[in-house]
Point group: C2
Chain length 341, copies 2
């Protein structure tokens, strides 16, 4: 893996000691703008409003949010933890990021608190980078030469602190000469696929083609797809996977066409306290985000919409879950616990 880049060329999360700069992913790829977060509240707001997104990145940002809170003393930490946990309900990495910082604060003397938590957050950041690298190697080994791959949403560098999860695997497999074409589903309503994944793949010179979400079945039937590779927002103890809305449908379509379905996610995404997919809270966001595109209505005035942000893929439909600690295959409770334990 010598000349292969370990991190992304895009600096999308920058720790400046007294503030966190976060690339505004809502504006990509048209505009590069950073949002400055000086408090945990700023980080929570940026998370809720999707300035930053992607389960692993949300976790790292939350850790830095706690480090910012620590600058105001121990009393602020607990409040910040509550605030950050509430920012988004589904990605369990957020809860892990907060918990890891509360653990790091334990027994640290007040004057050292800020520096200590900044160091702990940076360590989490580094862990995510090295974890991504490990997943890229493990995941790429599952793909055959000349693979045509479908991916969904953005499980790339922009969703993590490193190479990305699903996109990290794809990029590394491409580096090994194993990828002939990637079909990126645009991923309505936020268009993370067209705006973010396609952008990342093009930067890495991976041959990439945009499709609308509803083309996936036709592409599986007619374009010789070899694998579907996606990320995850939370993985339950029984290996059910919660991920961006549309993932569950893709898994059913992949099964129908006999195509392997791979999930790539760090161990921090696994929540052994959640027994199964049915117990994962599915965030429902504003209907307005479905009813408008670029602020322009796509439906009649007064129209109703639902905006489920995630769905759950039962483990039976998943060929393998790739984590930095190993590949869980077949995806089930026993294998997941053996790997993550």
């Amino acid at each position: 893996m010598k000349s292969f880049p370990v991190t992304d060329p895009i600096a999308h999360i920058l720790w400046k000691g007294d503030r966190l700069l976060v690339l505004d992913q809502r504006l990509l790829p048209r505009r590069i703008r950073y949002v400055t977060c000086r408090t945990a509240k700023d980080v929570a707001l940026a998370t809720r409003s999707m300035v930053l997104r992607g389960a692993p990145l949300i976790g790292v940002a939350a850790a830095y949010g706690m480090a910012l809170a620590a600058r105001r003393g121990r009393a602020e930490l607990k409040r910040a933890g509550r605030l950050l946990r509430r920012a988004r309900p589904t990605a369990v990495n957020l809860m892990h990021g907060v918990d890891a910082m509360l653990d790091a604060a334990e027994g640290v003397r007040e004057p050292l608190l800020a520096r200590s938590l900044a160091r702990a957050a940076a360590a989490l950041h580094q862990e995510d980078i090295s974890g991504n690298r490990r997943m890229a190697v493990l995941g790429a080994s599952l793909l055959k030469k000349g693979s045509r791959i479908i991916t969904h949403c953005n499980a790339g560098a922009l969703a993590t602190a490193g190479l990305g999860t699903a996109v990290g695997v794809i990029r590394y497999a491409h580096y090994l000469g194993k990828v002939s074409q990637v079909y990126a589903c645009e991923t309505r309503p936020y268009l993370q696929g067209s705006r973010l994944t396609l952008w990342e793949l093009m930067q890495s010179r991976v041959p990439a083609t945009l499709i609308t979400d509803n083309m996936a079945a036709h592409v599986m039937k007619t374009c010789g797809i070899d694998a579907v590779v996606v990320g995850a927002d939370r993985i339950a103890a029984n290996a059910d996977v919660c991920n961006k809305i549309g993932t569950y449908g893709l898994a059913i379509l992949a099964r129908h066409h006999g195509i392997p379905f791979y999930v790539v996610a760090p161990a921090t995404t696994v929540d052994l306290a959640t027994p199964d997919g049915a117990s994962i809270p599915i965030e429902e966001r504003s209907a307005d985000e479905v009813l408008k595109i670029f602020g322009r209505p796509i439906a009649p005035r007064g129209a109703r919409a639902r905006h489920f942000a995630f769905d759950v893929t039962p483990h039976e439909l998943i060929t393998a879950i790739v984590t930095e600690r190993g590949v869980v295959s077949p995806a089930n409770e026993r294998n997941l616990k053996k790997t993550i334990g």
Copy 2:
């Protein structure tokens, strides 16, 4: 069916004797604007550019296009037929509309040609209206009380000359008190679901909810869907159905969840000369229509995209095909031929 409207309140195709006025469906629901067609070429252009769309409506408009050509004499008819046939490749109703007019022109004296073809086109128009009504009655009888229905694209009044096909069934079932909720898939890239179907359903006071295409699987699992009802652009002799991109995926998802999958289409949509779905030409439109929304790019400059406009659903996934001549169930070659004959 006494107080139930037979045609739609929206005049979307108006024959004026020397010209055809066509509602520009690309601008709905924001603007009501008509395009005036004075020649067959105008009708072909309006069809190709999707000013009008929907297989049955395309067929009726093509017939009026031929009637316009007849005003310029018999020599013009053949040329107009070729032009119109090329406007869009998938909907076979277009070919039927042209063929019906060429048949009607047979043996008619030149001075009577224009009047004769105008009358024949109007008859086709009326047939579509009465066929829609018959399909609405037959289709609604398949639905149970309190049905929650998913539909795709727009198989409504705007896609036909009458009530609509799939939406006609839904509207009539709602009139009978059988519909509790309709989930309309937005149908990227043209958004016929959000712009057209939701608009029609709201006008008929049918409870309707917009979802993005990638939410269908989650909605099937969590919202208690009782049926999927869609239209068709061409039906092959073996009962394979070609329809708007996304239909094939919906059929797989419906099968996975044990939900009946109904196709509603007039007999003119059936093409016994096409043996199976694999023989149907699938229109691939400009990638630009995927890469931009409202003219604004959603992907990086230089991005590649595919734009498959239709897909094929194998008959094994279809519970029933509802035509004005009867219900084809199970959907297979023998039953289709028995009904359409």
